[in-house]
């Protein structure tokens, strides 16, 4: 058996090689033809890009004597770094995000120690090796070393919500310095100490809302929702703690040191977000089906009684029809997309492991 296979294989391989070479020749001629057609276009493109390059080099020459700008830039990066290290690491919820806080700390530590060492281990180790492999290198140019941290604060008041699943919202927020100061002016210096943040989740489709207690260590939150397919928005606000209004009349000259804090102080409101649907929307009352001609844009209504599945088979409900159309799929179960490949080249690792 095996021998036969081998023989079969080797002869077939020869044939294959021959045919591949032949096809290769054909493709070559075809593409050359095409290339000659396109030559004119390419030429014009090339000349324009050349022109652009010339522009660039001119500018570079002009820019050359200005070394001061580079210095300025360095100073600027220093500034941003020092500011990022003085500000507290990104506040995170203690429970949910212990890992990320650790990471942040590590990052800030390493930045303060030295610029170069902050690049990942891999690159640091590999640059050593690169010297032994110079012959392979295609590069000739000198490039700048860069290191960045993500901005820790944008100084904007914003509440943003995103839908993660049909029943899970993600919300992140930030309050600007100016707004914080305004609250302090209005409600007293200790406004943020004697109030606690809350999120109010509004279901704008079914008209109800509910509150979530959060804390000042967090700047994002996941919210579970009961109703998918609805439009939501989320409001960030603050409520006084029990100690808040007890301290009002404490000043010696009888002017109140602290302002009265109302039951609820509005901070900001989020973008609206419609959550996805998560089930088949069988509509048993449906009498017509809307068709749209995508060429003309015209819509027409078709009486459902005229359809083949009803006239020939007497199939009346859509769920019944689906069972006929998809006899091998259980499309009503929720996990029908559990086998999704998702995307991404690197995913091949995790995917192929399923087959071993």
């Amino acid at each position: 058996m095996a021998k036969e296979n081998k023989e079969k294989k080797s002869s077939e391989e020869k044939n294959l090689k021959e045919s591949v070479l032949e096809t290769a020749k054909k493709v070559k001629t075809l593409i050359k033809k095409e290339a000659s057609k396109k030559n004119d276009v390419d030429k014009t493109k090339k000349t324009t890009t050349k022109a652009k390059d010339d522009d660039k080099t001119e500018k570079e020459e002009k820019a050359a004597p200005k070394t001061t700008t580079a210095k300025k830039e360095k100073a600027a990066t220093k500034e941003t770094k020092s500011s990022s290290s003085t500000t507290k690491p990104r506040s995170t919820t203690a429970k949910k995000k212990t890992t990320t806080t650790k990471e942040d700390k590590k990052e800030t530590k390493s930045t303060s120690s030295s610029k170069k060492s902050t690049t990942t281990k891999k690159t640091a180790a590999s640059t050593k090796k690169a010297s032994t492999k110079k012959e392979k290198s295609v590069q000739t140019q000198e490039f700048q070393n860069e290191y960045y941290d993500l901005p820790s604060y944008y100084n904007h008041t914003v509440v943003t919500i995103l839908s993660q699943t049909p029943t899970n919202l993600f919300v992140y927020w930030e309050i600007s310095e100016e707004d914080r100061n305004n609250y302090k002016k209005t409600y007293g210096e200790n406004f943020f100490e004697v109030t606690k943040p809350i999120l109010i989740v509004y279901n704008d489709t079914l008209n109800y809302s509910f509150e979530i207690d959060i804390n000042d260590f967090a700047n994002s939150w996941y919210i579970h929702l009961n109703d998918s397919k609805c439009k939501y928005h989320v409001e960030l606000g603050r409520k006084p703690l029990p100690i808040a209004n007890q301290q009002i009349p404490t000043n010696e000259d009888s002017t109140p040191k602290y302002q009265y804090i109302p039951y609820y102080v509005y901070v900001s409101s989020s973008n609206p977000m419609t959550m996805p649907n998560n089930k088949i929307l069988y509509n048993f009352e449906q009498k017509t089906v809307t068709y749209r001609n995508v060429k003309t844009g015209q819509t027409t209504e078709k009486d459902i009684g005229q359809f083949k599945f009803i006239t020939n088979f007497g199939v009346i409900t859509l769920s019944e029809l689906y069972k006929y159309l998809f006899p091998n799929d259980n499309i009503e179960t929720d996990d029908f997309f559990s086998g999704n490949p998702s995307s991404g080249f690197t995913s091949s690792r995790s995917l192929s492991s399923r087959f071993n």
């Binding site: 891999k122 492999k133 995508v294």
Partner: protein
């Protein structure tokens, strides 16, 4: 036989933009080289064989803008040739090293031939640019190429700022036109992330249709009468096709999915991990870490660590058998469905292109055999592209498609979870800042400022790639993905401040223009 329905294959070819003129040490660059050798060239070769044999076929492929930009990069073309030369050298050594084992030795020769052949095709036939190869088949009418978001940005999260979604679409269409000389009719929504809010922009740029996950159609409102077996059109006139479940499961099933056939090549047994360290050292990572070389000698064999040697012919036999099985199943599926339907069903089969060849090594051959069988065998369906289906059957049921993606569990969890949620705030703020400066300096004539603003747009787009979020979730190469988000946001933020304060650092700008050399014709006014 009378044709009762249609089958449509859509292969999504995408890789994130990985371009490091500053170093040769990024392992991630090899994703492109592996994909060219294992997927793109084999697909082109099989298309060519079909054309030569007079087999009529139709296939649809996405070529995403980052992939096109990389395939068009002279630097990466040169690096790919280096990659091939290394592999030819290694397989030559392998022929010598394995001379005592006949079966392995035959495979060594096979790899030597393959890589030599790749080099020949790449240099001599495609002039180092395989985009021309794909364009050739589109011009012949057998391949429909569709576009994608500029950098594969995930719309359902980006659209908090709709202009950034519009820009993803606009640049996706511009890039397509640049390489293919016409407008795209279809789009692969990045990660199949569908939101109704994007329809108006997709229509604005003349795009007719997109591919969505099964429930993007099945959970539409109202529920479509033919499920995923026909497209639906949104109230805004945008058509979507849903992935067919049955055929998808046949390929992907963890129990009896096609790529798990025992005769197929085992992905994990690679000489990069198995050969003597000193011997293989010149061909693995520069820092000495063992990585895949692409030279693999074993077949899956079964649930055993004791793997048998791969046999090219046995693998082909399996591919042929499976192609036959797939054909029979589709014939039965279409036969059944067409009984109940007033128009011919279309079974839509979307996959990552890199599935074919890169990790299902025999995939391109399977596709070739399947297409041949569909053409020659008595079968009740034919191949079609989505746009041809729309043209033939323009009367489409109007429904509101469901917000969905093709990620695990069908929504946004892959791109938004506790491992990567920190990134979205930065992507949104950068998007808003881009719009702010694009508007503020919309009338500027300062060339340097214009260049800086255009570079800001590039940095923003690159930061938005869904790939970084995906990789972080997936847990491989996480450092690299995090670094990319930091780098692009960092460069963007630095430029933002320089543009605002009128102190643009030319050297810095030039440096990152070379590093992030994508979309040379971009115009920041997209954001104003």
């Amino acid at each position: 036989m009378q044709k009762k329905g249609y089958l449509s294959f859509v292969l999504h070819a995408h890789l994130p933009f990985i371009h490091h003129p500053e170093s040769d040490d990024y392992l991630e660059e090899s994703w492109l080289y592996e994909a060219i050798s294992e997927t793109y060239i084999p697909l082109l070769q099989n298309f060519q064989k079909l054309v030569d044999e007079g087999v009529k076929f139709k296939i649809t492929m996405t070529m995403t803008p980052p992939l096109l930009s990389m395939l068009d990069s002279e630097l990466l073309q040169k690096k790919y040739i280096n990659y091939l030369n290394e592999h030819i050298e290694l397989s030559k050594k392998e022929i010598e090293r394995t001379k005592d084992n006949e079966r392995i030795n035959r495979l060594s020769k096979y790899y030597f031939d393959r890589y030599s052949n790749d080099l020949h095709w790449f240099k001599d036939i495609y002039n180092c640019n395989i985009i021309t190869g794909f364009k050739h088949f589109q011009d012949l009418g057998v391949l429909e190429i569709i576009t994608c978001g500029a950098t594969h940005g995930y719309f359902p999260i980006l659209y908090v700022n709709e202009k950034t979604v519009r820009a993803q679409i606009a640049v996706g269409v511009q890039t397509y036109e640049k390489y293919f000389g016409r407008k795209p009719r279809g789009i692969w929504l990045p990660e199949c992330g569908y939101i109704p809010e994007a329809d108006k922009y997709l229509r604005e740029f003349g795009i007719d249709y997109a591919i969505v996950e099964t429930h993007g159609v099945l959970y539409a409102n109202p529920a479509p009468i033919y499920g995923t077996l026909a497209p639906i059109v949104s109230p805004r006139g945008f058509t979507v096709f849903g992935r067919d479940l049955e055929s998808s499961r046949q390929v992907w099933s963890s129990i009896n999915g096609y790529p798990g056939d025992f005769n197929y090549r085992e992905f994990y047994r690679d000489i990069g991990y198995e050969a003597d360290y000193d011997y293989i050292k010149p061909y693995i990572a520069h820092d000495g870490v063992r990585v895949n070389t692409g030279i693999k000698y074993h077949r899956i064999t079964g649930k055993t660590e004791n793997k048998d040697i791969y046999d090219v012919q046995w693998a082909k036999d399996s591919a042929e058998r499976q192609a036959g099985h797939f054909l029979d199943c589709r014939t039965a599926q279409i036969n059944n469905a067409s009984k109940y339907m007033d128009k011919p069903p279309i079974v839509l089969c979307p996959y990552d292109a890199e599935l074919y060849g890169h990790w299902w090594y025999e995939g391109p051959y399977w596709l070739y055999i399947l297409f041949k069988k569909i053409y020659y065998d008595e079968c009740n369906f034919e191949l079609i592209t989505p746009s041809e289906y729309i043209d033939r059957y323009p009367e489409i049921q109007q429904c509101e498609p469901c917000r969905s993606s093709w990620g695990a569990n069908g929504y946004s969890e892959v791109w938004l979870n506790q491992s990567n949620d920190y990134a979205h705030k930065h992507l949104h703020f950068a998007g808003n800042r881009m719009c702010e400066v694009a508007y503020e300096f919309r009338d500027t004539t300062d060339k340097l400022k214009i260049e800086a603003l255009n570079q800001m747009a590039r940095e923003l787009l690159l930061a938005q790639s869904s790939d970084w979020l995906f990789i972080i979730t997936n847990g491989t190469m996480v450092d690299y993905a995090k670094k990319r988000i930091k780098d692009h946001i960092g460069r963007f933020t630095k430029l933002y401040s320089q543009v605002k304060h009128n102190n643009i650092d030319k050297e810095f700008l030039k440096d990152i223009q070379l590093k992030d050399a994508i979309f040379p014709d971009i115009d920041y006014h997209l954001y104003s």
